[in-house]
C-alpha cells in the first residue's frame, strides 16, 4: 500500500510545480521524490520517466563532474551535503543530461524541517550557469 507523504513535503511539491525555477526534492535519505518541469529541461528527462530514485542512482545518473571534468563523488554534491549537515549548501558542477547535453549547474540546497522539528529532507533550487 502506498505510504502517504508528509504534508510539508506535499506542499513543497505543489510549490515546486508552480515555480519557473528548477527544483529538486529529496527525502532525508536522499531519495528523489520530485523534480519540476524546469528541472526536467535541465536533466533532459521527465520526472514521470524517472520516478523515485535512490541517492546513489540520481547522484551518478547525470555524471556530475567539476569544471575539469573529473567525476565528483556523490557525498560532495551540495544536496547530499545539506542532508548530511542539515545546513544550507551551495555549489556548482557540470552534468550530462539524459539528452546528452553538457550543462553547467549552480545549486542551492535547503534542509526542510517540519512541524515539531521533524527532518523531512531537502529542497534544491538550480540555475543553469554560463560554463560550457
Amino acid at each position: 500500500m502506498e505510504v502517504q507523504k508528509e504534508v510539508e513535503i506535499i506542499l513543497t511539491r505543489q510549490l515546486a510545480s508552480y515555480l519557473a525555477t528548477p527544483a529538486f526534492l529529496v527525502d532525508p535519505r536522499g531519495t528523489l521524490l520530485f523534480y519540476n518541469e524546469p528541472a526536467e529541461v535541465l536533466l533532459g528527462q521527465r520526472f514521470e520517466e524517472t520516478g523515485e530514485l535512490s541517492v546513489e542512482a540520481w547522484g551518478t545518473r547525470f555524471e556530475p563532474t567539476g569544471a575539469d571534468g573529473v567525476p565528483l563523488p556523490v557525498e560532495s554534491l551540495p544536496l547530499v551535503m545539506a542532508l548530511r549537515t542539515r545546513h544550507p549548501a551551495h555549489g556548482e558542477f557540470w552534468i550530462t543530461s539524459a539528452d546528452g547535453q553538457r550543462r553547467h549547474l549552480l545549486l542551492t540546497a535547503m534542509p526542510l524541517a517540519g512541524q515539531a522539528g521533524r527532518f523531512l529532507g531537502a529542497l534544491a533550487l538550480l540555475w543553469e550557469g554560463p560554463g560550457k
Binding site: M1, E2, Q4, K5, E6, E8, I10, L11, R13, Q115
Partner: protein, 279 residues
Amino acid sequence: MKVRLWGTRGSLATPGPETARYGGNTVCVEVRSGDGEHVLVLDAGTGVRNLGRTIPGTTRRVDVLLSHLHMDHIQGLGFFAPFYVPGLEVHVWGPPSPSESLRSRLGRYMSPPLFPVRLRDLPCRLTVHEVPCVNERIGPFSVDSSLVCHPGPTVGFRIAEEGRAVTYLPDHEPALGLRGPLLRGGWTTGTRLARETDLLIHDGQYTERQYASRVGWGHSTFARAVEFAELVEARQMVLFHHDPDHDDATLEGIVAQLLRDTSPSMPVCAGYEGQTFVL
C-alpha cells in the same frame, strides 16, 4: 461505536430558520464507545455546548480532540460544561505551532480580554496533549492523527473501535495547487487516515465558483470531497463544515446536483445537527 453530529457549520455560526435543517452551530462531533462509557469530542465549535450538557455527572473522563485552533473549532470551549466540574478528568488533544505549545495557544482564547475564565483557573483536572499521535489508546479507542493540508497546524483523526473506523477531516483542501485529478502514490494528505474508513466526515464547503476565489483557504469543493472519498475507498461520506452562505435549500440543491454529476460509489449526504451513525 456511535457518532453524532452536534455542529456542522464551518467558519461562523449561522442560526436561523433558513439553516434549521442542517444546523447553524459550528463544528462538533461526538464519538461514543460501543458500551456507551467513553466519549470523544471532536472539535469544540458552538455545537459543543449542547453536547456538554448531555454528559452525565458520573462521567470520570472526557477527551476533546481539536483538529486545529480556528475559532469555529474552539469557540464553544468556554461553554463546555465538563470544564467546570471539579475534579473531572478532561484531556484536550490538539496541534502545537512550531513555536508555541498547545496549552499556550489555547490560553490565548481562554483568557481576558477574549474570555473571562483562564485555562488555568478551570476546576476540572485538565491535561493537554499535543498531536499528531499514532495509535494512541484512549479508553477503548485507537486514535490516529496526522497533519493535513489547511493553513496553520491542522490534523485529521481516525478513530477505531472493534474493527470499525470513523475518519474526521473537517478542514481539508486535498487539491491545493492541483490542475488535474487528486494525486495517487501517497501525494494527497489525509489518505492514510481515511483509507477504507467506514465513515468519512469530510470538508465540503465550497462550490467550484466559490473555490475559484478562495484557493488556499483550506477547504474542499463538494466534487473534490467525493473524489477524495473515492480515492480512499471510504464506505460512507458525510459532507461537513457547511458554508455560512449555504442555507438549507441551497445546500440541498448543491448536494442533489453533486450526486447526479458524480454518481459516487458510496452513500454521500450533507451532515445535519443531530444526525447519528452507528458503526
